[in-house]
């Protein structure tokens, strides 16, 4: 069944201590692929049936006021199978 996913990431210019911690741990474990790591949140929202466009609009609103803090974060809403 499809679900709605909201990805919330710190804005690029905002310090990301968690991402930095991961970025500096990786090479210590021998992983050298990353030039940068950012860590954010992923919300998986289930609705009854398949998401409607009204629901998506509502989720957008919720993402704006509850799931993210627009002062420091950006969000993306999408449907995932």
């Amino acid at each position: 069944m499809a679900k709605i996913v909201v990805d919330v990431m710190l804005k690029p210019e905002i310090l990301d201590p968690q991402g930095n911690a991961v970025a500096s741990a990786l090479p210590r474990l021998g992983f050298t692929f990353a030039t940068s790591v950012r860590q954010g949140k992923r919300f998986e929202i289930e609705v009854v049936g398949d998401p409607t466009s009204e629901q998506l609009a509502e989720v957008e609103k919720a993402a704006e006021v509850l799931l993210s803090n627009p002062v420091i974060e950006n969000y993306v809403v999408r449907v995932e199978k």
Partner: protein, 743 residues
Amino acid sequence: MALDTVAIAQTTPDDIQPFAQLGLKADEYARIKEILGRRPTSSELAMYSVMWSEHCSYKSSKVHLKQFGDKAPKSDALLVGIGENAGVVDVGQGYAVTFKIESHNHPSFVEPYQGAATGVGGIVRDILTMGARPVAVMDPLRFGPADAPDTRRVLPGIVAGVGGYGNCLGLPNIGGEVIFDETYAGNPLVNALCIGVMKHSDIKLAKAAGAGNLVVLYGAKTGGDGIGGVSVLASETFGSGGSTKRPSVQVGDPFVEKVLIECSLEIFAEDLVVGIQDLGGAGLSCATSELASGGSGGMKVALDKVPLRDPSLSPEEILMSESQERMCAIVEPEKLARFLEICAKWDVTVTAIGEVTDGDRLIITWNDQVIVNVPPRTVAHEGPVYNRPMAQPAYIDDVNSQVVQLPIPSSAAEIRATVLQLAGTPNLADKSWVTSQYDKYVQGNTIQSQPDDSGMIRIDEKTHLGVAISTDANANWSYLNPYQGAKLALAEAARNIATAGARPLAVTNCLNFGSPEDPGVMWQFAESVRGLADGCLEMGLPVTGGNVSFYNQTGAVAILPTPVIGVLGVIDDVRTRTPMSFDVAGLDLYLLGDTHADLAGSEWAFMHGQRVGQSPTADLGREMRLIEVLLAGREEKIFSAAHDLSQGGLSAGLTEMVLRHSVGATITLADVGISLLSESPGRVIVAIEASKTDALSTLAAKYHITLSKLGTTGGDSLIINDAVISLAELRTAHTATFPKLFG
């Protein structure tokens, strides 16, 4: 993106610069030109504008704050006074203690978690900078109405931020305040206090001495934090090349700060620095200009060497960035290798960015081009000074001439209802919902913390030397009479530590007010400073430092004048402190001090929406005699417990005492309503064994302090005359409020 250099500035004297957008007045801009003998470069303009801001230059408050020096009592305890990052006092046995309080009000409204977190981070670095190990924090907080929807956003965020940062640093939180009033809606107050301990010989100062010594920047990389304002420079002066989307919110990394603390303490222990300064407000502009002017004035910095988190930053932005968790040290060249080694051990980024020079100019280059060439004192210390107009606001006479009209309980049912209502009102309710989010045990030296009258920590495990500290403000009284309000807050803070048996030693303060451009607010401020300075002189307590926060105002509505006063005291043996409450039945309860019908500015008046009348008048002579009684009583082991009375009067004081160890009390009061609700200053409840009655009377008589019997301890109820309140229902009333409001 063209670089503005000193050479260019000399040849283009008439370029238009966006000084007004940066907050500088035309005459301030003219003065900069006069100092430099030319127009400033954009980097110089950036530096002057931040350093001459209200926040950094104290331009509106300076003329008043002078009184703390002018009226300073003679004190042998003061090792470092006002003017350094934090004051330092001698607490004996070779130990020195440094403590200071700072505000982070505006950022905490915008982003409660990060605002509060970085507030804690900033004050901790100030303490570290003095050479001390930070050992505890406190957080006096003020919010809009407890049940307002925005308070539900702001309060949990701020509390989580204070805890998130302080807990991660391993600093026990040993006290604070949580007060609600509608004027703080939109202007929450987040004041953060930190205490640090060191040996006398470890004191460090912010000065760059010795030509050839290196300027070393260490800690986090520099990003675009907190420089929203300067984007105007980037965009206006430099076209659209620079990024205009700089975050005005700073995000803290407490882990980096924790590592920075340990790294710095190792560096200090090996005596590797000549001078040191943290990077707080105004970042590198502040650190370089203050360090240079603390020395002989000469310093050269290669700004392009600063490690960047965001490579697109312009030099102006780097100078103004308020990225957290950074320090700037002055290091002798032969000690640099060891300095770098210690940084490597802790995985701390470190770079030598310049050196101390002969001469008296601060010269900053960008890829070898000179972009700043200024006398550093003019940036750091010779900012504008305003004697702002002030006038007693009209409300003063109006409210002072009115008399509070309040219901006064007298029947058993009314007494019960009143005590329960006070126990649960947000300003007096149990604050565990907040304080259980703070680690109070870490470091293993916490002797007292919430809900005790003061925080107390052990400094030496062998001798049991300790310090106690309390912060207080009574904005309701300050509103009615700012002069008295400041004195009363000072007295209360001092009394709070003396109840435990610690002798008051020194004062810090955080003065939270509305707009200084409002003559009424300016008057409130001036009166508060005058009251505090007079009070400190009378009590013989030096002001060691503090902070001013203006513009706490929504539209025309200013916050209540809120001078938060912190008093630090010493106790020679923490094991012998007087506890806040009793844990056995059969003790006698007495009240030290006089009770008058002091209801104006009381919590009871606040609960009835009345903000009129006259505040009590501080009698500091009597407060000092009361303190002597408390100290002597502790030494002579007279007291089983002692608890200060303040907001909520005797009703609140008794509630807190009986709930502490779940031992009730039976109290008999004449004029019961006033006795329970009055907030007359200078009162303390003490519990003694009957055998100590004579000793107590003798002591009270010696210091001319009124002594009256209240009752005895025991049982599982608080009984006041014929009103019986079970501890269970009292506890429910006291503890249910916060969880209900904040989940």
